[in-house]
């Protein structure tokens, strides 16, 4: 039997989609469908993990082993999947609240461990599912559900943050530019280690419908602009950009050891030191 060529369609599901018409997350979903098709990943070998939020409903809409987990814990759960089953391809998705608020501690340590997974943060600068509170990326002064006179806390810069902690793959994309996003997902999934893709994905319901225009006008395609993603200083400058919104691959370090690799080395090392044939023999080590 000839191998079936998988297309984007093969990754759709019939789970009811709950997103608002016009939500940026549709673009992300499309890009994922296309990317995994391009990579020809058999659906059964694909794990799609998320936290909680509008964006985190995504796994239900991808024909894969999907896991819409709990708020803020997508990364450690995905780390467990990836570390225990290196044969799988692991995609992680979620919102800016999930990733950078309640999930901030795990984010830091995922960057540090460099597990082999691609993390797509659908950054809409708002808590969508809980109906409109400010998030760690909401600009100061924007009205929110809980602060109608203007959000007061300054936003985090996830790109600078990740770069400072030596992320090994860093990109930003716009859900209105599905092609570029798809390409970045493909690259991220080919990267051996932790790939972060921060996606500007507008929430039309709680932040109005002007953001698409904003990103179209202020977007800066660094891929096309010849940015060298091995240049750390240039990468740093991009993360500090104030006027334009950079989209594309910002930084990649192909040489860092991934968690998967590190665990493999540990297993080899310990197998040399612990010369048992089976678990029964371990009992020996306890004899006085």
């Amino acid at each position: 039997m000839a191998e079936k060529v998988l297309t984007a369609k093969d990754y759709r599901t019939d789970v009811q989609n709950i997103w608002c018409p016009g939500c940026g997350d549709f673009g992300v979903l499309n890009a994922i469908h296309q990317a995994v098709a391009e990579l020809q990943i058999p659906p059964q070998d694909l794990a799609v993990i998320s936290g909680i939020g509008c964006s985190s409903r995504l796994p239900g809409y991808v024909n894969a082993y999907g896991f819409n987990t709990i708020h803020g814990r997508a990364l450690p759960i995905a780390t467990g999947v990836s570390a225990s089953r290196p044969d799988l391809r692991v995609l992680v998705a979620g919102g800016d609240g999930d990733a950078y608020a309640i999930g901030a501690g795990h984010f830091v340590h995922a960057l540090r461990r460099n597990p082999n997974l691609t993390y797509i943060v659908m950054d809409n600068s708002v808590y969508g599912l809980t109906k409109g509170q400010g998030s760690p990326t909401t600009p100061v002064g924007d009205p929110t559900k809980s602060q109608p006179f203007g959000h007061s806390e300054r936003p985090l810069n996830p790109l600078a943050w990740a770069l400072a902690l030596e992320v090994t793959f860093l990109a930003q994309a716009f859900s209105g530019q599905v092609k570029q996003l798809k390409d970045l997902i493909v690259k991220g999934m080919r990267h051996e280690g932790f790939a972060l893709i921060n996606v500007k994905s507008p929430c039309v319901t709680f932040r109005g419908n002007q953001e698409y225009n904003y990103y179209r006008e202020h977007g800066w395609n660094i891929d096309k602009d010849g940015h060298d993603y091995h240049d750390r200083e240039a990468a740093f400058r991009i993360t500090q950009e104030k006027e334009r919104v950079p989209f594309g691959l910002i930084w990649q370090d192909e040489n860092a050891v991934s968690l998967g690799k590190q665990l493999e080395l540990e297993r080899e090392k310990y197998s040399k030191v612990r010369q048992y044939d089976n678990a029964d023999e371990v009992l020996r080590t306890f004899f006085a």
Partner: protein, 587 residues
């Protein structure tokens, strides 16, 4: 007449090496077939503070730490001070102490007990005869070996095992100190037969603490993913697995916190790899949300809580049994099980049962151990371990392209075969949301009811399959004791003594705490007119729990409890039995 049961305590400052000395005694005796139960105790200082070690040695497997100390060795009275309430001296006990210590022993010893005091120049011998002051603990070892008749060959072997290969001179000096101590004792030491421990001549025993036994049980049960965050007294589990699991292709990750630890395990288990995590009260508190997820999504998961004194940071180095309500208290009605080991060997078995239960019933299973079980060392027979190995694999579905796989298909047992990534055609969506059979989220109250029924059905199966309890004493006694975990030891020994006194009494120690192991409990309760629950929880959590969830309890259902830290002694339990026992053995 030589004796076959001896409890020994050594106390000094951190630098005095009492822990090493007690450890050598434990290992040497165990290798010689003598059963030891060894417990360490430290002051608040991280290093250099006071420390003490207590070794109970016995021809039969010791059930508890022993009520009374027969032999006490003190390097410094000031350091000894903080342990006074842990050391109940037996009348006539031998007390060896550092001759050079300026303090007066009388200031530190009970006035109302006759003791056999003996000053020993440990320091002087180490300094003058051996030339290495640090070896005074080996001098002490020699003294003790001679007085109590320990197997000296084995002790020397233990010294060689520790230093021989890496530091041969250190080994030689230690042996020299040992011999000097022995010489001193031959000349000056008490030579009473009643102080001499008879050799057992039994088979070589192994030495393990409860945390290690539990970790080894997990390895044998097939656990191949462990993520944990250090915390006293659960850390030994992390240490042991970190060095053993990789050899078996497993993964151990020291997580950034307990939430990461347990959710990593949720991920690994969801991916089809048996997973376990461990912590103590404060860390377990952080894991509760994820346990709910495992309950809702029906993901197998084993969580170990080595209980310490709470609330909050409490007393990290002492045991308590007050995390039962925590183990019950997830948000929503979460199907799960709670197991409790009652001694070190039981840790091994409970680990396997818990993993089996979690895999068979696809649920989170909590093991409630405690500091006294987890950190004490026991001598044990190796054969009893391998006999008990148990591995259960979860049900996988039979997938076919014709039928859409229904992850949460209804079934009588409540269990539905679980697909794991990699199985073609098994793709489904897992979530913590209520869902229909396929796994798709729903907010239908009807589905919530049906799925709650399904999940709860599993509890029936658990109560049937895992109803294991230890019952001691007289089946037909009218007075019964119920306890769990580390109280077993004292209760069991107290029952033996009560029987010697002609009292009729029985005890019930369940391994499964939740759901209630009603079958064995009802069996036990038959004919009981009065039952007392003993526990180390100020709020009597186990008592109230049984009252709320168990049936067939007698009218007179009593509670005897206190805050943790200090274990019940055999004598204390015996007194309770004397007071409450309603029937006597017919002689």
């Amino acid at each position: 007449m030589k004796i076959n049961d001896l409890t020994l305590t050594l106390a000094g400052s951190g630098g005095d090496g009492v822990i090493t000395t007690g450890d050598f005694i434990t290992r040497a005796a165990s290798s010689d077939g003598i059963y030891c139960l060894t417990q360490m105790s430290y002051g608040p200082q991280i290093r250099g503070g006071e420390s003490s070690i207590r070794v109970r040695m016995s021809h039969k497997q010791a059930q508890s730490r022993g009520d009374f100390v027969d032999s006490l060795l003190v390097f410094s009275w000031k350091d000894y001070k903080r342990f006074t309430d842990e050391v109940e001296l037996r009348p006539g006990a031998l007390v060896l102490y550092e001759e050079a210590d300026k303090e007066s022993p009388a200031d530190f010893l009970p006035a109302d007990i006759e003791l056999r005091l003996q000053a020993v120049p440990f320091k002087k011998i180490a300094q003058e005869d051996v030339g290495v002051p640090l070896t005074k603990n080996m001098v002490a070892l020699g003294v003790l070996a001679e007085i109590h008749g320990f197997n000296q060959e084995r002790l020397k072997q233990a010294i060689m095992d520790k230093y021989g290969k890496k530091r041969p001179e250190a080994a030689a000096k230690n042996i020299e100190a040992f011999d000097a101590g022995k010489a001193w004792a031959q000349e000056h030491g008490p030579k009473e037969e009643r102080l001499q421990l008879e050799p057992n001549g039994g088979e070589r025993l192994l030495v393990m603490n409860g945390d290690e036994a539990l970790a080894y049980g997990a390895l044998q049960a097939g656990v191949r993913y462990y993520a944990g965050y250090p915390i006293t007294p659960a850390t030994p589990i992390l240490h042991w697995l970190q060095q053993e699991l990789p050899r078996f292709g497993g993964t151990v990750i020291q997580a950034e916190d307990e939430i990461s630890a347990i959710t990593q395990c949720v991920g690994a288990s969801w991916a089809g790899v048996k997973a376990m995590t461990a912590s103590s009260g404060p860390g377990i508190a952080l894991m509760m949300e994820a346990m709910g997820l495992a309950g809702m999504a029906e993901i197998p998961l084993t969580i170990v809580n080595v209980q310490r004194v709470g609330p909050s940071t409490g007393i990290p180095s002492k045991p308590e049994q007050a995390d039962l309500l925590q183990a019950l208290g997830m948000h929503g009605d979460v199907p799960h099980a709670i197991f409790a080991p009652a001694d070190v060997e039981d840790c091994f078995q409970v680990a396997m049962e818990a993993v089996a239960c979690s895999e068979r019933y696809q649920m989170p299973v909590i093991i409630l151990s405690d500091q006294f079980i987890g950190e004490r060392f026991e001598s044990l027979r190796g054969d009893r371990f391998l006999e008990r190995v148990k591995q259960v694999e979860r049900d996988l579905p039979e997938l076919s392209p014709e039928r859409k796989y229904q992850r949460y298909a209804f079934s009588e047992s409540g269990v539905s075969p679980m697909a794991v990534p990699g199985l073609e055609g098994g793709q489904y969506i897992t979530s913590g949301l209520e869902h229909d059979e396929s796994g798709a989220p729903t907010s239908s109250s009807e589905y919530h009811q049906l799925m709650s029924d399904k999940r709860a059905a599993k509890l029936k199966g658990v109560a049937e399959d895992f109803d294991f309890a230890r019952v001691y004493g007289n089946k037909d006694a009218e007075f019964g004791i119920i306890c769990w975990g580390s109280l077993k030891g004292a209760v069991r020994e107290a029952i033996m003594r009560a029987q010697d006194e002609g009292l009729k009494v029985a005890a019930y120690v369940p391994q499964l705490l939740y759901p209630v192991p009603q079958r064995s409990l009802s069996e036990f309760l038959k004919g009981k007119r009065k039952v007392m629950v003993l526990e180390l929880s100020h709020g009597a959590q186990f008592y109230h729990y049984l009252k709320g969830y168990a049936t067939d309890l007698p009218e007179e259902f009593l509670s005897h409890c206190r805050a943790g830290g200090h274990l019940f002694s055999i004598e204390e339990v015996l007194k309770l039995i004397r007071t409450h026992s309603v029937s006597e053995l017919v002689a």
